[in-house]
């Protein structure tokens, strides 16, 4: 097997059976993907398309009806390989009677991380998750966003080579979403592989190197973002400080060259950018007040 491949599936199929053992739902149908080490790979698709089923198969939570899957060169049944994997489930499923420190400590102990090292990692991750103010509060008192943050922290407690994230930004506010994206990008910079599944397309587009689109359990499309989205006969030029007369001249020039101008408009940012700008301004104001 190629050492550069983090995840590979071969005709991976999962059919859920009815009570009487008959095939009921074909959740995943002959999936073939290969994810390179060090890349951020996005798994896209509508609800019920087979994204979560794929992740569960890769993590050995469920067994495939047919086909095979390899994670970091090993079979998904290999328990030892899980020490190199970090996983964030779709729902934040943790013991709600534990606080943030205890939750991370519990998972850290399952990874057999020595005490001192575990403590350091817990402190770093709690800080990274922005949960220092609530670290001693039981998780049952956490909001959905806070649970998501502690979920991401527990997925990283073992400093994994492969991080599998199921809807990582679900329930997070724009700041949390941005921070999560930054964490994912930082992981990539450190050479980690990230597989994330989401139906928030903008998030995936922002950070993923490659994506695969699933629908009704079947792989519809796979490739880099540029490959999938670039249109060869449409050109986009972004210009700063161009006077109005010059715009008219450019438009005339394009028409002379038999090109078709689709739209000319002032560039607008995204709502996310605007939100983050306001938030940053508020923070700096409150610091000045102090």
């Amino acid at each position: 097997m190629n050492n550069d491949i983090a995840i590979r599936t071969e005709d991976l199929t999962k059919a859920y059976k009815s009570f009487w053992g008959r095939r009921k739902i074909l959740a995943l149908d002959k999936l073939n993907i290969a994810i390179q080490k060090g890349e951020i790979f996005g798994l896209l698709g509508p609800n019920g398309s087979g994204k979560t089923t794929t992740l569960k198969l890769l993590l050995g939570l469920i067994t495939p009806t047919d086909g095979r899957a390899y994670v970091l060169g090993k079979s998904t049944n290999d328990v030892a390989i899980k020490s190199k994997i970090g996983f964030l489930p779709e729902e934040s499923c943790f013991y709600r009677f534990l606080n943030a420190d205890e939750t991370l400590d519990f998972y850290g102990q399952l990874f057999r991380i020595p005490g001192k090292e575990r403590k350091l990692r817990i402190n770093r991750l709690v800080e990274q998750a922005g949960l220092e103010f609530a670290r001693k509060r039981p998780l049952r008192q956490y909001s959905k966003g806070m649970l998501r943050r502690i979920g991401i922290a527990q997925a990283l407690i073992n400093d994994p080579d492969l991080v599998i994230l199921d809807e990582p930004t679900s329930g997070l506010d724009p700041i949390g979403t941005r921070e999560t994206k930054d964490i994912i990008l930082a992981l990539k910079e450190r050479g980690k592989t990230v597989l994330l599944c989401s139906h928030l397309l903008s998030d995936v587009q922002d950070i993923c190197d490659r994506v695969a689109i699933l629908d009704k359990g079947k792989l519809q499309l796979a490739g880099t973002i540029d490959e999938l989205l670039s249109s060869k006969n449409v050109v986009e030029i972004l210009i700063r400080n161009l006077p109005d007369e010059a715009i008219i001249e450019v438009e005339t020039f394009i028409k002379e060259k038999k090109g078709e101008v689709i739209s000319i408009k002032n560039s607008s940012g995204t709502l996310e950018d605007l939100f983050l700008k306001i938030h940053a301004a508020n923070i700096s104001n409150s610091k000045t007040d102090v």
Binding site: L59, V79, P89, F111, R112
Partner: protein
Amino acid sequence: MQQILVIARQTFKEAVRNKILFVFIILGLTTICCSVFMPVVGDGREKIKIVESMCFRSITFFGTLAAILLSASSIPTDIENGVLSTVTTKPVQRTTIILGKIIGFIYIIGVLLIVMGGVSYALIKFTALKQSHQGNSELMVRDQFDPDTLQITGEPTRKIGNVSWIEGGGKGSSVWKFKGLYSKDRNDDLEIKADFLVESKKRYDWGIPVNIKIINHVTGKVLTESIEISRNKPGLLRLNGESLEGSGELTIVVSPENSGDYIGISSDSLRVFFGKKSFGYNFLKGLTIISFQFFLMVIIAVLGSTFLSLPVNILFCLFVFFCGNITDFMRDLSTVINVFETHEHEHGLSALMKKSNVFVILLDYVIRKPILLLSYILPDLRNFSVGKYFTDGINIPCKTVFMSFGYAVLYTFFCLPVSFVVFKRREMA
């Protein structure tokens, strides 16, 4: 091992933080303490008996309930909440999860047992102290001796199953030999308990008179006593320990006094109680045996939780607990159904049963055989029943402790691998 202990601590922490452990402790202690206020008819010993009985029943009931509810619900709830699907994505074997959970439940039940046992012991001691101040009773237990041999002289009038019927008036007698009756204290009382079936051609108000002759072969002393034994109340004879002087052996000859009176005896109808033993040690043995039952229920509940949903698993465990206490009855019931086919005097249903028809076959395959099979598959929880020892003030033989331990271990060896295999195959969907 480290991971097992991590999961065990987590399981224990869950029971503490969710306050379920405290609820069981408070309920158990309330019942135990209520035993002091139970009205008693009889002497001080009766009062102690009531307290002992209530304490052990409370410990058994609340301990078993805790064992069933906690261990039957933990794994299904964790699966339902998705916690286990997160845990199983870590480098943890599923067998580790099962073992960790079991050890966690043992922690919980252990704490419950220590607290309830400690309070019970203090309460029994306190009650006994109070009674002894009034000169009523002391807190001791005695060894129970079963007969070494039983011989019947003369012809038994009839024999049904293992019960032989002997007629009085010199027509027959039963000769029981007891061995190993030694005590450090020569003044120990010796108690003979005759639990016979009785019948008579005459009408008695209380019971039939029975002659009991106690022979000490070493000293040659012969003691003859007469007691009355009725249908519902066993005969009791208390003797001074001196009748055993120089010998650990006794021969007891029992026969009804009058012709026309009958006693029905089996090999364990006559028992001797002798020697004084520490109550505390006996109490500890009792708690140990009960803890084996809790352990067994935990193992069964964990087995059920590997493939059953929460409500079904609780029902399954309660069913096992209920049937485990009536395995004898289940076997008897199965025999009763079978007797229909073989009994000599057929009337009504039994006559119908004699003929091989659909009803007979259905009854045999749908009721009798499954009941019989269940009675052998399900654990016989009477092996862990200690109530009778404390009610009668009998020293629990060490053999019984080891037997119950062996039984629990045997059952565990069967259930645990099945749990491992089933849970390994279970999908965390």
